[in-house]
Amino acid sequence: MTHYLAWIIALFCACAADRQPGELFGPLEEDLVVVDVQLIVDAPLPPVHLSRTLAPGTTYTAAAAALSGAVVAIHQADQIIDYTEDPEDPGRYLPTASVATLPATLYRLEVRLTDGRQVKAQTHTPDRLQITQLLLLDEETLLPRRELKLFAELGEAVYYAPENQIFYQQGLLEARVAEEIDIPAYQLAIFNLEEDSALLIDADFLEEDDLAEFEREGASPPLAVRKGQARLPWFAVAFAGRHKFKIYAVDENWYDFIRTDPDGNGGGFGGLLGDQFQRPTFNIEGGIGLFASASVDSVGFTVLP
């Protein structure tokens, strides 16, 4: 019996559970067209970025992925806005005319590549969004402690207004929008406008490598802004100094992508142990990527250590 057991053990020890990284890649989907266009209401039509997917086992560079020579146009009603490739930046296409993005309007993207492939997508821009109030709430009672100034009142000076100076993790910051828009979701984003302000995170349980990973900007999963109120979670703030807090009212394509994006971790339960690594919803005909739109408004404040 011992003899047989030894043989069995030897046999299985030979079966190492390590393998080459390449074996962990799936059926290759290289050379898919990747579209990257994000329209913002009232902003000029943005550039169109075109690239292609590369095999995951190869070295990825922007130059190798860029798609040049495409014919690109955005259609809005009877209007056609043609794009030309930026000679300085392959794969980046610029509109030939400066046209503002309209709210509640349908835009269609058409791309024809040099090899004849076509890519199409469309987005319906949301209505305008307007933040009417920025409040600092008491954490316990959730009653307003004070009202902060808006860009509409002071412009860039809001960052220096006494009302807009708030201490780190004291109170809850809540922005209120004029009225809810008929959209699938909102997305919140925070930007620290300093380059080298102090890191406010002081957690013993974090290593130096962890602290180095804190970024000066971040975005939320898709959210509902119930009763027109959006609260800023303190974990989104890591650095001192001036911050811009943006609320995006997003269209279906934007919403579909951020809710299914494995890198964004979605907005729901679960998502552990690789369950979340599933293909995002792209809504692009003939390719992948994002052709989406949003309306946005923002507020500014300064976080004191």
Binding site: A62, A189, A203, F235
Partner: protein, 745 residues
């Protein structure tokens, strides 16, 4: 009318005893050593080719017996088969209670246990298994023996990972298996994120598993049924048992009281002092413990009445305080309280009435840099149940029953002091069933049944016909088949890797209940009293499947099921199970093999394409054996399975993150679960030695999980921080030795 006449004739054939002046034999079957009732015991009159099986309360009745002298054989696995001669007179209803003795093991050249045949349920029902508590305790395990992990070694049952006690039966997920403890549903049968189940091995008396095609007396889940009965207590003397493992200590005490018995058992981990010491040294480790408690009290209220009250409660408590602003706390647990009254209306009519209360609560509370997040889920199940067994004739037993369940579900999610979800549902479930066990010919047994259920959420009415048939081709060789329709109204929200603070939610009117159609066909060959072989195929077709939408925006008012779940799924599971078992002798064990396929398809997932769930396994082999030698028992388990499915990266691309506009390198997921991890295999060994301890029986054990330390793959993550995409494989457990002590007094 000829049709009406035919119907009357048929009814008369069923309900009127065929033999005038016939006698009835009935009674309760118990364990002679402690008075525990013995369900699934065979009572047979071989000369008449008549027999029956004791019910869940150990009651049996055989009607239609001709007057005269008869030899009666009573057998139950693990007990000495008893032969008696009875003289019956005309019209007699003889109450004959039977006490069976545990067969002593003679440790001579060959261990002998007098042949006992498996219960009738084996012969009649496809996909039925029982597991003896003693066998379960001898199987090698991590930390300590565990019921669900032991069941994972049976063919047709898979584990999701080394740390998961979730049952993936015949291509179904863990939510598709109904788990009952003393007839009460347990909503989360796991401790320690699935590492252990909630079942205290000392308290278990009987475990019945229907891997599919379960009978009409049960309902509520698409796939399988696990029915666990706890001990009722020793009716003869005060006794106890317990154990100490590296992880927990447990103790069971039982004894007689009045006309019945009591049983109390408890188990608690003692990891907390160790973890506390580690924390004191400055390391970031959580505080964690679990405990569970089982209690039972039974009283015989007369020759025809018995009252049993049982309870279970268990709790897992995890606290991970990183600092004042960042912490994680998770508590989950089940509580049950059951009252059961058994009443013998007549020798041929047995009734069981159950009032049961079961709750499950899962609370997750975390704060991440002063941003609080709360998840709170609770299920309350208040059920009233009545079951009747009517022994119409020796070849006909009709079972019927009613169930009324009042559910209350809550699910709340709060983020940053704002309530995002507040689900409150209080549906009712009403169900009724009828089932006829009919020995149609001496060689053929037929079980026909149907279950009706009505779920108030969505006003869903379901009819679920069930059948099973077994035909004895030759002595010991049976052909078995069965089929049925099953519905499921509740959905489990969990992850496939482990289970912890899982959530349960009912499907409301916006989503139809999931449905399955099951069929099975098998051959069962009792080669001898020592060996048993079986081969069984199964096919389950599923539709109206719902799956939690991992990408759902849990942030909407008046959230409905259709917002939380991906719906309109279809799927199937098909397979072949081969099983060879040696049941008696020094060397005992089994070898099982499963060839299986399972697929799912949802319009919203995987671009509408069919995909395998992670737990789809083409091949699954398990060997489990024990060898008894004097005071030593040696155990060995070997498992081999096709690697689990995972979603690989098919390409790499760059896209600006919406809102921030930062260019982000991304891996593009290929088709869902279109690749496989390496095959899973593992060898566990164990040794137990019996010895005396202060006049008591004790056993010391040493077990080694994953003897050759195979680092089986668990899941894959893709890192795109560098220009070269780096796939990282997270591995499962290496070799884990453990030891402990079990004792009995």
């Amino acid at each position: 009318m000829p049709g009406t006449k035919l119907l009357y004739t048929a009814l008369l054939a069923v309900f009127v005893p065929a033999i005038l002046n016939a006698a009835t034999l009935n009674g309760f079957i118990k364990d002679a050593s402690d008075g525990e009732s013995l369900p699934n015991t065979t009572i047979a009159l071989p000369a008449l080719k008549m027999g029956t099986l004791s019910n869940a309360s150990g009651y049996y009745a055989i009607t239609g017996l001709p007057p005269g002298r008869h030899v009666v054989v009573i057998s139950h696995i693990g007990y000495r088969t008893q032969l008696d001669t009875l003289d019956l007179i005309a019209d007699q209803a003889l109450r004959w209670n039977i006490n069976l003795s545990v067969e002593s093991i003679r440790l001579q050249e060959e261990t002998v246990i007098i042949a006992d045949r498996l219960g009738e349920e084996f012969r009649q029902q496809t996909g039925f298994s029982v597991l003896q508590a003693q066998d379960m305790q001898q199987m090698p395990a991590v930390g300590e023996s565990d019921l669900l992990r032991s069941l994972q070694l049976l063919p047709g049952i898979q584990a999701a990972s080394d740390i998961s006690s979730g049952l993936y039966v015949r291509g179904g997920g863990p939510d598709q298996t109904r788990i009952l403890l003393d007839q009460v549903p347990l909503y989360n049968p796991s401790h320690a994120f699935g590492f252990f189940s909630t079942f205290n091995p000392d308290a278990i008396k009987d475990v019945s598993l229907y891997k599919g095609v379960y009978p009409a007396a049960y309902g509520g889940n698409l796939g399988a049924l696990l029915d666990v009965q706890n001990r009722e207590g020793n009716r003869q003397t005060l006794s106890g048992r317990g154990g100490l493992s590296l992880i927990s200590g447990r103790l069971l005490l039982e004894g007689p009281i009045g006309t019945g018995a009591w049983m109390l058992s408890g188990r608690r981990t003692y990891l907390d002092p160790v973890l506390s010491a580690v924390r004191a040294s400055g390391a970031n480790v959580p505080s964690y413990y679990f405990y569970d408690f089982n209690g039972k009290f039974s009283q015989r209220l007369g020759p025809s009445d018995e009252l049993v009250i049982s309870t279970y409660f268990g709790q897992d408590v995890l606290d991970f305080d990183l600092d004042a602003e960042t912490f994680f706390a998770l508590n989950w647990g089940n509580r049950t309280l059951t009252g059961r009254w058994s009443h013998l209306f007549s020798p041929t009519l047995f009734g069981r009435f159950i009032a049961a209360f079961s709750t499950y609560e899962s609370d997750t509370s975390l704060s991440f840099f002063d941003t609080p997040v709360l998840f709170d889920n609770s299920v309350r199940d208040l059920s009233f149940k009545a079951d009747f067994d009517y022994y119409v004739q020796a070849d006909h037993t009709i079972a019927a029953g009613l169930l009324l369940t009042d559910y209350k579900f809550t699910f709340r999610q709060t983020f940053n002091q704002r309530q995002q979800l507040d689900l409150n549902q209080e549906p009712w479930l009403m169900a009724a069933y009828v089932q006829d066990d009919w020995q149609a010919t001496p060689l053929m047994h037929l079980r026909l049944g149907s279950r009706f259920s009505y779920f108030t959420a969505g006003q869903r009415l379901s009819l679920e016909p069930r059948f099973s048939l077994s035909y004895e081709l030759q002595p010991g060789l049976r052909l078995k088949t069965g089929g049925g329709v099953y519905h499921q109204y509740l959905q489990l929200v969990t992850t496939e890797g482990f289970s912890g603070g899982d959530y349960w939610l009912p499907l409301d009117a916006s989503v139809k209940p999931s449905r399955s159609y099951q069929t099975a066909l098998g051959l069962d060959w009792e080669v001898s009293s020592r060996y048993r072989l079986s081969a069984e195929t199964y096919y389950t077709d599923m539709d109206q499947l719902a799956l939690l939408d991992n990408n759902t925006v849990a942030d909407s008012e008046e959230t409905r099921s259709t917002d939380l779940f991906v719906t309109d799924g279809t799927g199937y599971a098909a397979g072949l199970e081969l099983f060879a078992e040696r049941r008696l002798g020094r060397l005992r064990g089994w070898l099982g093999y499963t060839l299986g396929w399972t697929r799912r398809q949802f319009p919203e997932l995987n671009r509408g394409r069919t995909f395998p769930p992670k737990y789809d396994r083409r091949h699954d082999i398990s060997l489990n054996s024990s060898y008894r030698q004097s005071k030593w028992t040696w155990n060995l388990s070997l498992v081999y399975a096709t690697g689990q499915a995972f979603t690989p990266a098919g390409a790499r691309y760059t896209l600006r993150a919406p809102a921030t506009g930062l260019f982000t390198d991304r891996a593009l997921p290929a088709d869902r679960n279109s690749a496989r991890l390496l095959p899973y295999h593992r060898l566990d060994v164990g040794a137990r030695r019996a010895f005396g301890l202060w006049g008591s029986e004790a056993e010391f054990y040493l077990q080694i999980f994953n003897l050759y330390s195979r680092r089986n793959e668990w899941f894959v993550q893709y890192d795109t921080d560098e220009p070269e995409t780096d796939p990282k494989v997270v591995k499962m457990l290496p070799i884990v030795p453990t030891f402990g002590l079990d004792f009995k007094f």
